[in-house]
Amino acid sequence: MSLDAAMPRASAPAILPGSGGLRGALSDLFWRKPKVLLLLMLLPPVLWLGIVYIGSLFALLAQSFFSIDEYSGLINRQFTLKTYGDLLQAANLDIILRTVTMAALVTLASAIIAFPIAYYAARYARGRWKALFYLGIMLPLWSSYLVKIYAWKLILAKEGILTWLFGKLHLQWLIDAWLSLPVVGGNSLSVSFTGTFIVFVYVWLPFMILPVQAALERVPGNLVEASSDLGASPGQTFRNVLFPLALPGIVAGSIFTFSLTLGDYIIPQIIGTSRLFIGQAVYSQQGTAGNIPLAAAFTVVPIVIMGFYLWGAKRMGAFDAL
């Protein structure tokens, strides 16, 4: 019978001998004490993260409590809050306010645009369409960030394709009217805050779509049916079921879009006005100005803002559905 071949013979021992050697001893040790293996696996990344990453962050934090001697340009390594005082100057507050407003608007717009795309992908896209969705979302992330931004500069320029398209549609007046508005307007889209906003939304959108899609994917379809069955119109189902359950994903995505916008210095440099954002301020303070303490203090701002943002999101119950 063929079964016999697979069955242990009567003479086979019930417990097999150890394979011996260092390898065998290690295998047995890891099986008996799984925590040893865990420790060995985690040690290198924890050391890296702890020393190199957190360490440099603390070095930065420490720098922000130093000050610069305005005459000699030398750094005075004595604990002071003077640099943070400088941060509160009107010009610097302007930079902070401008950046935070931009980050908030970019986040809001990303969430609004991302939701229907993520919803389609989570609910309806199957097989080939799902692959196409992931490709469409990820493809822009594979190409160089700078190339994309310069491409947008061409699109948004005065002689660019967008102006041309609006002209063909006899809608040139719409662009002109928008550009004549204060603050958001300018000479052309590529040198206005509107342009900066558009490019920010374009570049960070995938970071909003993916977490929202993941959150919606975890919402069982029958919850939507149950809501409808209990008398909720599609709008009520969205407000009472879909949105609260997608909220952790939206918050996760907004952490990306918000913090990435807070820290970016390349997009506003290439597309937008000459008025600075936090990232540009950090760049110029630690570069040309050589004011490392102020650059460090500027860097602390997004960290503190994100801290408050997460604290507020948690208090509002954004993570309750997790």
């Binding site: 049916e225 069955d229 209990l230 909720a232 609260p244 309750d320």
Partner: protein
């Protein structure tokens, strides 16, 4: 009298699959109606057609005399208890139960009071503050029931609501559902693949197969007088007897059915009857199920526990009362 739910030549096709195929159905107001069938037989699609999650490809559906085609689920006074309960994970039990009233604009104190009452009805008073994730399967099932009942639906649909519960709990819930239905007088439409459940709970049963209704009748009708081989086999695993065999005992060349409990098993020497061989015995507690081989025809018999049994492989003689041999409509 208008039917609670009425199907006229209702079909629902998914591509080339005829999930529901020209079904006619009338459910009487206030009855406990069961849709019984194997998976893929179209019973759940029928339930979804009543709820409004599916629209018929052809035919017409009316609920208490009103046409229901094209009416979305949220405009039907029909509520569903879902197979896996579909409780909202981000709401506590009380808000889950009060959901239907909330979307209708009932004020908070009023809807919470109604939800509390519904929770008492399903014997879960004081559970309102918990999250669905903190409840056992049986408790979630009761919450789903309370959430549907609080809306006082005209028809309550139950999609295999007891499938995920263990045996003991399932038996308790069967009794509770039945008494709840009697007390409330609401029409219950119950989908199940468990024939025991359908027979013990329902006033009437529709047996589904391949998108069609094979037979509609009282549990006794279905069990004692199956019309087709499928019904005989599916409901209570009756012995299906081929026309040649039936002819010997009834004189008619038709398919027949014989309940396992109608067969008496005697020793080979005990007299006349169908001679057979005992293949195996299967102890079921109160009864013992015997598998028998009567010259190539596989038969099952159920005898009370404690009956003196022949050993496996022994020759036996089978006898039965000819009145118990039921002739089916199905052509030979």
């Amino acid at each position: 009298m208008t039917s609670a739910v009425s199907f006229q030549k209702v079909s629902r096709h998914f591509g080339s699959v005829r999930a529901v195929d020209a079904v006619d159905l009338d459910i009487v107001p206030g009855e406990f109606f069961a849709m019984l069938g194997p998976s893929g037989s179209g019973k759940t699609t029928c339930l979804r057609l009543i709820a409004g999650f599916e629209q018929p490809t052809s035919g017409s559906i009316s609920i208490f005399g009103e046409r229901a085609e094209g009416v979305p689920p949220y405009r039907r006074n029909v509520n569903t208890v879902f197979q896996d309960y579909a409780l909202f994970p981000h709401l506590n039990v009380l808000d889950n139960v009060a959901y239907g009233l909330m979307v209708k604009g009932v004020g908070k104190p009023e809807r919470h009071k109604a939800a509390e009452e519904a929770l008492s009805l399903v014997r879960l008073p004081g559970y309102g503050a918990r999250r669905p994730g903190q409840l056992s399967g049986g408790q979630r099932q009761r919450v789903a029931l309370a959430r549907a009942l609080v809306n006082q639906p005209k028809v309550l649909l139950l999609d295999e609501p007891l499938g995920a519960l263990d045996l003991k709990l399932r038996e308790n819930m069967q009794e509770e559902l039945k008494s709840l239905q009697k007390a409330l007088g609401i029409t219950f439409v119950f989908v199940t693949h468990d024939q025991g459940e359908a027979l013990s709970m329902a006033d009437r049963v529709a047996v589904f197969n391949d998108g069609k209704i094979m037979q509609i009748g009282t549990p006794e009708d279905i069990y004692q007088r199956p019309k087709t081989r499928f019904v005989a086999d599916f409901v209570g695993s009756s012995n299906v007897l081929p026309p040649d065999f039936v002819q010997l005992y009834s004189g008619q060349h038709r398919w027949g059915s014989l309940r396992p409990e109608s067969i008496r098993v005697g020793r080979a020497a005990s007299g006349e009857g169908v001679s057979a061989r005992l293949v195996s015995t299967n102890y079921l507690g109160a009864t013992t199920k015997l598998a028998l081989d009567a010259d190539g025809l596989r038969l099952h018999a159920i005898v009370p526990a404690g009956t003196a049994l022949p050993v496996e492989g022994e020759a036996v003689v089978l006898t039965f009362n000819r009145e118990h041999l039921h002739l089916m409509d199905e052509p030979a």
